[in-house]
Amino acid sequence: MVTNNFEYFAPESFDEAAQLLAKYRDTAKILAGGQSLLPIMKLRLAAPEVLIDLSHVPELSEISSNGDGLTIGSMATYYELSQSAVVQKAAPAIAEAAGQVADVQVRNRGTIGGSLSHSDPAGDMPAVFLALNGAAVARTRRGTREIASDRFFVDLLTTALRPTEIMTQIKIPVATGKTGSAYSKFENKASHYAIAGVAAQVTLGSDGTVTAARVAVTGVSSKSTRAKRTERILIGKEPTASVIRRASDRAAAELQDDLTEDIHASGEYRSYLATVIAERAITAAVERAR
């Protein structure tokens, strides 16, 4: 299978990439790892006229952390994330999820920026990005803005990025106090995509009760979504097994009108799995917070 014809550019700086994107706008697509874009183009579900490959822009792969939090270049691969000591320390759920994406070959090439920009309904990174309250840095030739994770995923395969914006970085705020995060999924055995995946971040106060919780579900509906009812049940309580169970039971409560149904699983089954996986992710996050 081959894709439609297109023109290929390999810019060596961000400015050059942004200029190309400004010129070709929505006839162009950014090429990151190509692990979602190329399969779609081979099936001719997408036929961009221009591809702008970001792999020659070195600063887009940098990972660093300081007092404000973690900054991850959009072109950092899953493999790099899963191996990075900086990521493991600052945001273990990212490293944990990155190591569970797809298979070795896809993890060697697929990027966090590509995953978030693609907004696959079963993508792992989108859920983690939501649970860790991240922000995406979107840049054009002219300016830069930050898009909060809560506003980033708009619909199936649709994000708040504009056609001329390139995601350059992902920012994860520093977790304060006793905070733990985790990602857990039940995967499709062939593709490894999540049938249901849950990312959780929990902060405990000095008395052991939950002071903050963010829980996000992927694979179950058209996009990764926060499970706000689950979060509300957790907050203010001591996270005992029965509280976690009760909270997890609501993990797909807000998704009932938008459940994914396909050959792999019914909506009802996905919904049930979300509650089981939520319990695992929240329990692990609480243990890490302690």
């Binding site: 081959v2 090429l31 692990q35 399969p39 099936l43 490959d53 070795v104 070959q105």
Partner: protein
Amino acid sequence: MPNEITVTVNGTEYTDTVEARQLLSDYLRETLGLTGTHLGCDTSSCGACTVLVDGQSAKSCTLLAVQANGHSVTTIEGLATDGELHPVQAAFREEHGLQCGFCTPGMMISVAQLLDRNPNPTETEIREGIGGNLCRCTGYHNIVKAAQTAARSI
């Protein structure tokens, strides 16, 4: 759109003009005649087309030849050195880690990648390491044994 690329494949540098849309798998098989890289599904799933790009495994059906420009590619033909089988190849022969052989080139590249990163893998780590490679024949049992034998001999 024609593009000039320079790629080092199995130690030899090639410069060719390719269409932007030419896949690395097609470049290897059709332009260079290296048909050891197999195409199974052509949809990023089976791993038969796996090669190393700068030492990192990738599905060559999901990579453009232009993306390999300036990089170094190792295919199954490049695994042996000076007529000596690579320890992974020797172990596949020893343990009968193949039946029809279709998945084998990609499978061996994945095992080589695994042992390069993790010289002493557990059985679970081996199964995870070949998670992107499908085999229709063996049930994986002898492939796992071959990986264990290769790990011992490296």
